[in-house]
């Protein structure tokens, strides 16, 4: 590894922890970010000649702290609290190997429900993931100034609305933790589902979400759902290479080339899911991971245990009732008990799901399996009208053509 890529990797890895510690130390989000930027510039110069220090995180904290003191001293507007300066300068900065891990505080602050969801996602990737503003902007296909503004507004609200920098107390923890997992899963899906834009950056989002979730598992080892989400993402990610055909068309699970699956990810996902289940606190992420694991464990689509999958969808529907879950449940039942049963279940969803393309896609596939070509063609047509994702559209179009012009 070249020194440049080694430095870049170190920056990424240390960013969240160093920034979190600095915010605790300085009591000021913006000052902490500015000071860290200064320290990174410093590090780039020094490390290129001296190499990456033994404990780069502590190095960055110490240097950033000095830069923060400089910034406070040179600020003309007395915008910083003199108490902070006093407490900072009292102890002589030293190379201390241990500094507190406050990433959990930072995560909870970034994912505070008083911030818009898109701001939570951007801020989390930026502060904890160490992605630069242009990188976050590229990943979400928005212009750089728009993203910069979104981040600035979020920081301003944290400061001015008094969003606390701490791990929420026990009574708020469950709902706040849910919000945090939503953000991490959203980052993952943004990278997984999207097929437009800078695909490399977008694929990195999957890796980033998995990395953040690993950190969260370390920080909250007792939470079953955190492990459940990590397992779910690893299992989904294991199929990344087989999800799209060379021409960019979506490949359904049953038609995927299973030799392309990443078996080390599958194994890791399954063992993390086992750890989660051993904590005896079931939740929707664990159930979804279990479904994904059942798919991952069989060598051919024909061997899939659809009865078990249908049962898991029953459980999921009770935990988080939604149209999405109902559509998937109907598909599982169709596979387990025959397409007619699945079609009947879908029919009952007609009113609430009419604007939801996966509903029409599921219906179309079941109609196709029962050889009802005209009805299937209509359903593929509806799915095409409602779906914006090019890979999925390509698949629907091919099926529609098959229905109209049978070979």
């Amino acid at each position: 590894m070249t020194i440049e890529s080694q430095i870049e990797k170190t920056f990424r890895e240390e960013h969240g922890r160093v920034l979190a510690a600095l915010i605790s130390l300085l009591g000021d989000f913006e000052l902490a970010e500015d000071a860290l930027q200064d320290a990174l510039v410093n590090a780039l110069e020094r490390w290129e000649t001296d190499g990456v220090p033994r404990n780069p995180g502590a190095w960055l904290v110490t240097v950033a702290k000095r830069r923060a003191i400089d910034r406070i001293r040179h600020s003309k507007f007395e915008e910083y609290n003199p108490v902070i300066l006093e407490s900072l300068t009292q102890e002589e900065p030293e190379m201390d190997d241990s500094f507190p891990d406050d990433r959990l505080k930072l995560l909870f602050t970034c994912c505070h429900p008083a911030l818009a969801l898109e701001a939570q996602v951007a801020l989390t990737l930026h502060t904890l993931g160490g992605l630069s503003t242009p990188e976050v902007a590229r990943a979400f296909l928005v212009a750089e100034p728009t993203m910069a503004q979104r981040l600035a507004r979020a920081r301003k609200k944290i400061l001015e609305a008094g969003i606390p920098y701490r791990v929420p107390p026990a009574d708020l923890l469950p709902e706040r933790l849910d919000a945090l997992l939503v953000v991490i899963y959203l980052v993952f899906n943004e990278g997984y589902v999207a097929t437009s834009g800078d695909s490399l950056t977008r694929q990195e989002l999957c890796g980033e979400a998995i990395r953040l979730c690993r950190v969260l598992v370390d920080l909250l080892p007792g939470s079953a759902e955190v492990r459940g989400l990590l397992a779910l993402m690893l299992l989904h990610d294991s199929r990344r290479e087989s999800r799209l055909s060379p021409t960019g068309e979506l490949v359904l699970l049953e038609e995927q080339d299973r030799t392309l699956w990443d078996f080390s990810k599958i194994q890791e996902g399954i063992s993390i899911l086992d750890e989660a289940i051993a904590l005896h606190d079931p939740g929707p992420y664990q159930v979804q991971a279990a479904i994904s694991a059942l798919h991952a464990q069989v060598p051919t689509a024909a061997e899939t245990d659809w009865d078990q999958i249908a049962l898991l969808y029953d459980t999921l529907a009770k935990m988080t009732p939604s149209v999405v879950v109902e559509v998937n449940r109907a598909v599982a039942v169709a596979m387990a008990k025959g397409p007619q049963q699945g079609l009947q279940m879908l029919l009952r969803l007609e009113n609430e799901a009419d604007n939801f393309y996966p509903y029409h896609a599921a219906r179309a596939d079941l109609l196709r399996r029962t050889n009802q070509r005209e009805a299937a063609a209509d359903a593929y047509q509806r799915a095409l009208e409602l779906c914006g994702n090019p890979a999925e559209r390509a698949y629907f179009q091919r099926r529609l053509d098959e229905m109209i012009n049978p070979k």
């Binding site: 915008e79 429900p113 008083a114 609200k157 001015e160 609305a161 008094g162 969003i163 606390p164 708020l172």
Partner: protein
């Protein structure tokens, strides 16, 4: 009788002409407050931080919904206020949840105006 006078304006509409700027300058506010004090009518007054710092609390079907921004429905009317001293936003939101309006309307939590906001 006690009356509450509520001030509405477009936040982003900055007064452009010197006359308009003059009309909203601090001395105008101080003079008005002095006048109200002298008349014995002023109980309390304060500005609010911009809407960008607002957070709205609603409770629907027993679940708390916290959203960024002042999302009052157009068919909802301002029905009262509490002024609280809290250590942070979480504490303010905790109280907001307990206000009955959260269950059938909404409670907007906004910091008071402060220097720099």
């Amino acid at each position: 009788m006690k009356y509450m006078l509520l001030m509405y304006a477009n936040e982003s509409a900055v007064p452009k002409t010197p006359e308009d700027q003059q009309a909203v300058a601090p001395p105008v506010w101080y003079a008005l407050m002095e006048e109200m004090k002298a008349a014995g009518v002023l109980l309390s007054n304060n500005g609010l931080s911009p809407v960008a710092n607002a957070t709205t609390v609603r409770i629907r079907e027993g679940k708390t919904l916290i959203t960024d921004g002042p999302f009052a429905e157009t068919h909802e009317q301002l029905g009262g206020f509490f002024l609280l001293e809290c250590k942070d936003l979480d504490e303010a939101l905790r109280w907001a949840k307990k206000i009955p309006h959260a269950k059938y309307g909404s409670v907007e939590v906004r910091p008071l105006w402060s220097q720099g906001s």
